[in-house]
C-alpha cells in the first residue's frame, strides 16, 4: 500500500516537472521560430531565444516549486488537516469523558503539526519574492517622441 502511494507520488512529481519543462520549452521554441523568420541562422536563433528567455533553470525550479505547493495532493492534505482538527474539536467539546476528550486534543495537535509541516515544506525563497514589478523593463521611446501617457 505504502509502495503504491510512494510510486504514485513519484509519478505525480515527475509529471509535474515534465509539464513545467514542456511549457517553458514551448516558449523558447516559439522565440526560436520568430528569430529564424527574421532571418537568423538556427544556431543564432536558438542562442537569441535562450538569451531573451533568461535563466531557464531558475525559472524551471521556481515553477516546479510553486506547482508542488499548489498540487492536488497538497490541497487534499491541507483539507485533511482541517477536517482532522474539526473532528478533534468536536470530540473534545462534546465528550464529557476525559479519555475521549483527550483523544480530541491529540487530533487537534496532529492537525496543527501537519499544517505546520506543510507550511514549512512549502517555504522557499520564491515564497517571499513577490516583487512582480521587477520583471518589467522600460525601454527608450521611439524617435517620433510618442510616449506612454496616462491621459
Amino acid at each position: 500500500m505504502m509502495k503504491i502511494a510512494l510510486a504514485n507520488l513519484l509519478t505525480h512529481h515527475k509529471q509535474l516537472v515534465l509539464n513545467v519543462e514542456d511549457e517553458l520549452h514551448f516558449h523558447i521554441e516559439m522565440l526560436e521560430r520568430k528569430y529564424a523568420e527574421q532571418g537568423m541562422s538556427t544556431a543564432d536563433a536558438k542562442a537569441a531565444a535562450l538569451r531573451r528567455f533568461g535563466n531557464l533553470e531558475k525559472v524551471r525550479k521556481q515553477c516546479v516549486h510553486i506547482s508542488r505547493r499548489n498540487s492536488l495532493l497538497r490541497r487534499v492534505l491541507k483539507t485533511s488537516t482541517i477536517l482532522i482538527a474539526l473532528t478533534g474539536l468536536a470530540i473534545h467539546t462534546l465528550n464529557s469523558n476525559y479519555k475521549i476528550a483527550r483523544m480530541g486534543s491529540v487530533l487537534i495537535m496532529i492537525a496543527v503539526a501537519g499544517r505546520l509541516l506543510l507550511y514549512v515544506r512549502g517555504l522557499s525563497p520564491s515564497t517571499f519574492l513577490h516583487r512582480t514589478n521587477s520583471l518589467l523593463v522600460v525601454t527608450d521611446p521611439p524617435d517620433d517622441g510618442s510616449q506612454l501617457t496616462n491621459a
Binding site: 509539464n19 514542456d22 511549457e23 517553458l24 514551448f26 516558449h27 521554441e29 516559439m30 522565440l31 521560430r33 531573451r52 528567455f53 533568461g54 535563466n55 531557464l56 531558475k58 525559472v59 521556481q62 515553477c63 510553486i66 506547482s67 505547493r69 499548489n70 520564491s126 513577490h130 516583487r131 512582480t132 514589478n133 521587477s134 520583471l135 518589467l136 523593463v137 522600460v138 525601454t139 527608450d140 521611446p141 521611439p142 510618442s146 510616449q147 506612454l148 496616462n150
Partner: protein
C-alpha cells in the same frame, strides 16, 4: 534609460497579465507578445520571469490553466481568467486609474 529596470508599482505585471487574459485564453508566449505589442515595445516583460508570476496567480485562483494545442499544433498550456481574476482585474484597473490620475494632477500642479 534604454533597457533600464524601473520601479513600477507592485502588481503592475499582474494587472497586465489579467488585462491580457480578459479578452481570450492564451499561452505564456502569447501573453508576452500581446503585452509587447500593446505597449509598442516601450514596456517589456522578461520572458522567463513571466512564468513564476503566472503560477503564483494560478495558485491564488486568479487564473486557471489547461493544456491545449497551439497555432502550430504543439501541445501548449493555455491560461484563462477566473471569476475571482475578473474581480481582481476590475479592482486593480480602478486602483490604477485612481493613482495615475492623482499622480498626473500632482505633476501638473508642481
Amino acid at each position: 534609460m534604454a533597457n533600464e529596470r524601473t520601479d513600477l508599482m507592485q502588481g503592475t505585471l499582474e494587472l497586465l497579465i489579467l488585462n491580457t487574459l480578459a479578452r481570450e485564453s492564451m499561452h505564456g508566449y502569447g501573453i508576452v507578445q500581446r503585452i509587447h505589442a500593446a505597449a509598442e515595445d516601450l514596456l517589456k516583460v522578461e520572458d522567463g520571469s513571466l512564468y513564476p508570476a503566472l503560477y503564483r496567480m494560478e495558485e491564488r485562483g486568479l487564473i486557471k490553466s489547461e493544456w491545449g494545442v497551439s497555432e502550430n499544433n504543439r501541445r501548449a498550456k493555455f491560461y484563462k481568467l477566473t471569476k475571482s481574476g475578473q474581480k481582481k482585474l476590475e479592482a486593480e484597473r480602478a486602483n490604477w486609474n485612481r493613482i495615475s490620475k492623482a499622480v498626473t494632477k500632482i505633476l501638473r500642479a508642481t
